[in-house]
Structures are given as structure tokens and as C-alpha cells.
Symmetry: C2
Subunit: 344 residues, 2 copies
């Protein structure tokens, strides 16, 4: 079983010149550097724009900095929202990071779900899917072609180009996609991409999705490698029951805030990543919250069903939580399944 991290640093605007706006980024960087030394496998970072509370916007740049400060940690995006980016410029940026880091990029991609981001960039939300698909086609061509090529799409076009630098991972860094609906999962498997399963779905639902992906990958002739699915979970190694319940409270409040940010004006937000139940029981069931023993039982259930890679979100950068999980939970899974590179 491999354990990575996913999360979001923040760097808030302030009119006060005495405030160190970079403190949140620097804290997150030191957090993942320590994580690497504790045996964590990867760090996946979000991309968001225009939030007003400083979520990471230039994800590949932050990951590049982290790449230069680490040696084995895999550098993941969760996820780069393709409709905002010129696919060729994005492929160049991703390839540069992959090259400099010796092939450590895990290229998580998505079509975006936040109404205010679509409005901000003035991109019609109904174009999201076709921009997403076209961008994947262009980037794949950019990564893999050593000869000059041209492209005439609905959203982008290029003439007589060859895209550099080359990636280290061949044919290209693995694409990862988040998906929840069965048909979305099957679309991911149709491309043979890796799958990110969200932190909010129940254990049962997560395993159903895991199985849909496994069956579809096999049916599509890609075969199934459990390193190609990462199950996200919130994690908190609690000191006692009161400490655990306080953490559940914090998580529910954070979920509500995320829900509000993502809302469309008509209240009709259908993105699967938001399809969590906000009951206290559901929140507690899906999360790895509790003492080491409680947490191990939950992970064992996933492991028994074939899960071999988890991405943990601590809702912040608590070093104590990071260390306790590494020391009191990870060893329990160290011998059962030797770690493999996610890119395999």
C-alpha cells in the first residue's frame, strides 16, 4: 500500500505589507518535504482561480519548486483544469517539470466544475467537455511527436510545430482524472487514463467505483494495475474521542465552504466531486479519522478489495498528524504490498 498526499496551499492577498503572503506556500512546501522523508509517495495539488482566499493557481510552478527541493516524491496535479489553458503551452510546462524532476510528474487533469471560474475566464460551461477532450488530444500529440505537425480543432489550432522539451516518462507523464459517475469512470478507462477517486464518497461507493474502473480497463484491453487508481481520503490521527469529534466538525465546515464556492447561481451544481453527503455520520464514515487502530481497520477494508494507493488530505499542514500516520499507521501496511512507482 502506498500513501500520498493531496491538498491545497494558500497565499492570500493582503494590503498590509507586513503580512508574509507566501507563508502558506512555504509551510506547505516544508510539509511535503518532511512527508517525503517520512515515506509518503506523492503530493497532489489543486488548481483554482479567483477564489479570493489564495488557493494555488499556478500549480505546475509550485510543483516545480517542490520538485527542486525533493528527490523521490511524485509531483501530482489534482487537477489542472484544461479548458483554461493553451494545450501546447501547458504541455511545454508539464514536460519541463517532468524533465527537470527526472520523470516524477503525475498529470492530473479535469474539465473544471466551478461556475465562477468559467465566468471569470469567459468560457461557456457547455464548451467544457469539448475543450477538455480536444486539449488531451493536442497534448498527447505534443508529448509524443518527434516530427512537425499541424492541428485544426474547434477551440485551438497550430501550424507546423514540434513541441519541446521532451518528457522523461514515455510516451508521456501519466494522465490522471477524477471521476465519480459510472459513465465518467468508463470514459476515463476508455482513454486508459489513471483514476482519482474523491475523498467524500462512502467506502462502499468508492469500492463500487473502483470495480467499475477495473472492469472497464480490462474490457478495454489496457489490463488493470492497482497503482493506476488513487483513493483520496481525509485523515486525522486523533489523540482521543473528543479530538476526533473536533476534527469531524472542522471537516464538515470545510466541506460546506467548498460546496458554496462551487455553486452555480441556479443552485444546480451537478459536479460529482461535490456529491457528498453532509451528514455527520457520512462524513465520519468516509474519513480516516480516529486512533491508529480505527484507521488501520478502514484501510484494510480498502486493501482487501484491491486498493493499493491512497491520497491523504489532512485539511491543513499538521506535522503531528503527518508524523503519527507515518509512524503508527504506515508500518502496518509496509510488508503487505511492496510499493511500486505510480507511473508503472
Amino acid at each position: 500500500m502506498k500513501f500520498g498526499l493531496f491538498g491545497a496551499a494558500t497565499a492570500q492577498r493582503s494590503a498590509n505589507p507586513d503580512v508574509d503572503s507566501g507563508a502558506g506556500f512555504k509551510d506547505y512546501i516544508e510539509y511535503v518535504i518532511e512527508a517525503e522523508s517520512l515515506g509518503y509517495h506523492s503530493s497532489f495539488i489543486v488548481e483554482h482561480h479567483f477564489t479570493g482566499f489564495g488557493q494555488v493557481s499556478a500549480t505546475l510552478n509550485l510543483l516545480t519548486w517542490i520538485g527542486a527541493r525533493t528527490t523521490t516524491l511524485r509531483l501530482g496535479t489534482a487537477v489542472i483544469v484544461l479548458p483554461w489553458h493553451d494545450p501546447v503551452l501547458l504541455a511545454e510546462q508539464a514536460a519541463t517539470l517532468d524533465l527537470l524532476s527526472g520523470g516524477r510528474l503525475d498529470f492530473g487533469i479535469g474539465k473544471g466544475y466551478r461556475h465562477n471560474e468559467y465566468v471569470g475566464f469567459r468560457i461557456p460551461m457547455e464548451d467544457g467537455q469539448s475543450r477538455f477532450e480536444e486539449s488531451i488530444d493536442i497534448m498527447t500529440k505534443a508529448f509524443t511527436s518527434n516530427e512537425r505537425w499541424s492541428f485544426e480543432g474547434k477551440h485551438w489550432g497550430y501550424e507546423d510545430i514540434v513541441v519541446e522539451p521532451p518528457t522523461v516518462q514515455r510516451p508521456h507523464p501519466p494522465f490522471w482524472q477524477g471521476a465519480g459517475h459510472p459513465e465518467s469512470i468508463r470514459r476515463v478507462a476508455a482513454r486508459g487514463h489513471n483514476l482519482l477517486l474523491d475523498q467524500f464518497a462512502s467506502m462502499d461507493e468508492t469500492l463500487r467505483r473502483f470495480n467499475i474502473y477495473r472492469d472497464a480497463m480490462i474490457a478495454n484491453g489496457f489490463g488493470f494495475n492497482p497503482n493506476q487508481v488513487a483513493v483520496a481520503r481525509a485523515f486525522y490521527v486523533a489523540k482521543d474521542e473528543a479530538d476526533k469529534q473536533a476534527a469531524v466538525d472542522r471537516r464538515i465546515a470545510a466541506q460546506r465552504r467548498l460546496h458554496d464556492i462551487s455553486q452555480r447561481p441556479d443552485g444546480n451544481n451537478t459536479a460529482s466531486i461535490m456529491a457528498f453527503s453532509d451528514t455527520r455520520e457520512a462524513s465520519e464514515e468516509s474519513a480516516l479519522y480516529g486512533n491508529p487502530d480505527e484507521i488501520c481497520r478502514k484501510i484494510e477494508r480498502l486493501q482487501a478489495a484491491g486498493v493499493e494507493y491512497m491520497l491523504l488530505n489532512g485539511g491543513g499542514t499538521s506535522r503531528e498528524n503527518l508524523r503519527r500516520f507515518a509512524k503508527e499507521v504506515m508500518p502496518h501496511f509496509a510488508d503487505k504490498a511492496p510499493a511500486k512507482a505510480a507511473a508503472e
Copy 2:
């Protein structure tokens, strides 16, 4: 007198999996890390696309990696070509680097001059100037506004956005522009931007341009700070006359290659950066090639005219050249003008 570097790493595509395509980038990174330790002030890096010989395309990503490996080196772009980039995404990337590096970004920008890049991105060359100007307006707004704003331009539009993260340098990282024609220099001074003077113009011509900028900055009420002008020069500390002449030969060949890459199909390339004379005498006159004494005499001439900041291009990554200049030329100028931050 301050001495920085400008140059271009390469990472070539190869169908051979045994070739380390990243070797050129890694070599350049180690080169500038040593440069920092030798007292060099900055490293300015180009941006180019579709060359087929691996010039840096994702310049801010390479600089981000360098930023994480250095502590005082200023991180310059020479130059980011604005017409290719979404101005808000670019401002986010630049701000992230500025934030992570503690305010070390020198943001060199240009409108591009290579016909094949305009064709590749399918952007009409006649839109270059207006895209360039509009992008500066948008990025300046993105860097400086703590409140939400909207923008309706000829090329880009945004709705109700606030751009994060904030920069460390306020109001924003200094903009640098390359210019050669008097009217172009006056346009740079009209915005109060910093000026990059190219490595090909003669000493006389360079000083004329320096003076045009100084006079215009003063006339525009910005005042004049010599740290706002960087004079680029090729440099090579030669062992003897034959070694020097061989270096001149290499330089002329490199100039011809650059000239050919930049050519328009009609042969009518008017970009000022290409307006060099390719006679041997001119090439030798403009370059800092020779023994330490010859080189010092040339720098003294620039210094006497008010130049206090030079960007050196070694046409490669010769450590010996880098070290000899640092040890045999730099000390001669160490006491005459104390170094100041380029951002001042």
C-alpha cells in the same frame, strides 16, 4: 557595476531513449548555481517555441526550479513573449515565482519577432503589438488589484476576477523590455519599464540608446536609476589571441544561425534585435572577448558613460570562462559602484 548572465539552455528531443534530453537543462542549472556563488547578480533566460533544437519554452518553470536551488540570484526572463500567453494565467505564474523566491523575479517581456512562432500559434503578426500592449495592461491590473475587476479587451476578456497569489515585489515585479530603435526605447520609457540593450549593437550605438532611455525616463518624470538598464554583451576571457579568434568565429556562426531562424519567408525581418552587423570587426568590437585587460577597458568605457549593469552571454556554459571573468574581471569593478538590487 553588477554582472548578470543571460542565455539559453537546450533540451533536445531524441528518439533514442538512452539520450538524457535533460542534460542541457541540468548543465545550465548547475552553471547558474555556481554563478551565484561567484558573485553574479542574475540569470536571464529566453523563451522560444518549435525550434526543433530544444530552446527553453516554459521559461518560468525552468526559472522556478533555479529559484528553489538559489538564494540571492535574480531570476529574469529575456523575454517572455506576451502574445502567446493568457495574461491572467501568466500573471499567476509570474506571481507564484516572485512569491516563492522572495521577490527575485525580473519580468522581461516582448512581443516576439520570429515568424515561425507566430505561424505556429496561428496568431497574425500584425496583432503582435496590440496583444503586447493589452497583455501589459491586464497583467498590471492582475498584479495590483486587491478588489474584483472585469476587463473587456480586443484580445482577452475577464469577468469579476481577483488574481492570486500576490507578488512580493510591489506594486509588481519590474517589467523589462528589449528595444533598439529610438521610438521603441521611448515607448519603454513611456511605461517606465526597465530596458534590456542587446548584445549585438556596437558600443557607440549602445551608449546612444542608453542616453535616449535616460533622457526619456527623466522627461517622463520617472527619474533615472542606472540599475534599470542592463547592457547585454557576449563574453569570453581568452587564453591567448588564437583562442580569442576561435571564439569570435563561433560567435559569428551562432549569429548567422539565429538570423536564419528568425527570418520571414519574404526575407524582410525588421526586428531590431536582429539588426547586427555580421562583419568580423563589428562582432569583435561589440563583444567582451579577449584577455582580462582588454575586457576591463571595454567595460570601463560603458561605466564611464553611466552603465552600471551588464548581462553576459557566454554562448554556452563554460565554467572556466565563468570563473575567469569572476576572478580576473569582476574584482576590478567591485569597489567603483556598490551593487544595488535591480528592482530598486
